[in-house]
């Protein structure tokens, strides 16, 4: 399945009452901006299931949203024949999300600081800044011949960690 059918099917499975989700979830979507809300909803829902507070779940979803938009616009250059893969993993201490595109990528390390006076009235250029502010770690990897992978990592708050976590044992 592709396109809207995929998005609708994912939403149906996701919204099923009592549906159970494992610690690792991976979806692949056609490279279209229109799916950003689906990705956002999934991220927020998985983060809440991982017992993130509502505001922290929104922060994570906003970071993933920006990474997905970057993958579609700058990675895959709006080529809808390409795809974006989003993979979620929760372990004892962190929530990790990989966003992978099939494009050439760009230089993630040399982006202007949107808070500098000269950039304040710019109408774009805040996506990576949002990512870096809403999660604990952001890393970018270029995969030769395949595309670019962004990894977003957010620490689970101690209260949300499992019974076997270091904090819980203290």
């Amino acid at each position: 399945m592709t396109g809207h059918r995929t998005a609708d099917a994912v939403r149906r499975i996701w919204a099923r009452p009592g549906s159970r989700v494992g610690n690792r979830v991976r979806i692949r979507l056609n490279s279209r901006i229109v799916y950003v809300d689906l990705v956002h909803e999934m991220t927020e829902d998985l983060a809440r299931r991982a017992r993130f507070a509502k505001s922290a779940a929104l922060d994570l979803a906003l970071a993933v949203r920006e990474a997905y938009i970057n993958a579609v616009k700058h990675g895959n250059q709006m080529d809808e024949s390409k795809s974006v893969e989003v993979e979620f993993e929760r372990n004892e201490s962190r929530f990790r999300v990989w966003i992978r595109d099939q494009g050439q990528g760009f230089d993630w390390n040399h982006t202007a600081d949107p808070r500098e006076a000269i950039n304040l009235d710019r109408t774009s250029g805040r996506g990576i800044f949002f990512m870096k502010n809403f999660v604990d770690e952001v890393s970018f990897h270029r995969i030769k011949g395949k595309g670019t992978e962004v990894l977003l990592e957010k620490n689970l708050q101690p209260a949300a960690r499992g019974p076997h976590s270091a904090e819980a044992k203290r």
Partner: protein
């Protein structure tokens, strides 16, 4: 996102609700503000009370609206940003370029 327009004398208030994000809210915001500027409105308040969050595209559109208003000799001010929207305006330092009000009467009297 929804945008509803009301007028208080020469000032126009746009009550926004929902989220200002790529592909929907940003476009509706642009259309609403452009329509007012095209009508010749010179004093516009964006009431953000009902806005839950914005993404970088939404923030970018807010700045674009501000710049378009200035180009047309109009003023665009913000009212009642709350929660995440307020956080984002502080984070991006946009509170330094926008006039932001908590009280509608104060906002109306500022023009």
């Amino acid at each position: 996102m929804k945008a509803s327009v009301r007028h208080q004398g020469k000032v126009t208030i746009v009550d926004l609700s929902g989220k200002i994000t790529i592909g929907d809210g940003d476009i509706k915001l642009r259309e609403a503000v452009n329509a007012l500027l095209d009508e010749g409105r010179k004093a516009v308040i964006l009431n953000l009370k009902g806005v839950s969050y914005m993404d970088s595209a939404g923030i970018g559109e807010l700045v674009a609206c501000y710049k378009r208003a200035a180009e047309k000799g109009a003023k665009l001010k913000l009212l009642n940003p709350g929660g995440k929207v307020q956080d984002l305006l502080i984070l991006t330092r946009l509170q330094e370029i926008f006039e932001i009000f908590r009280d509608e009467t104060d906002a109306l009297n500022s023009f």
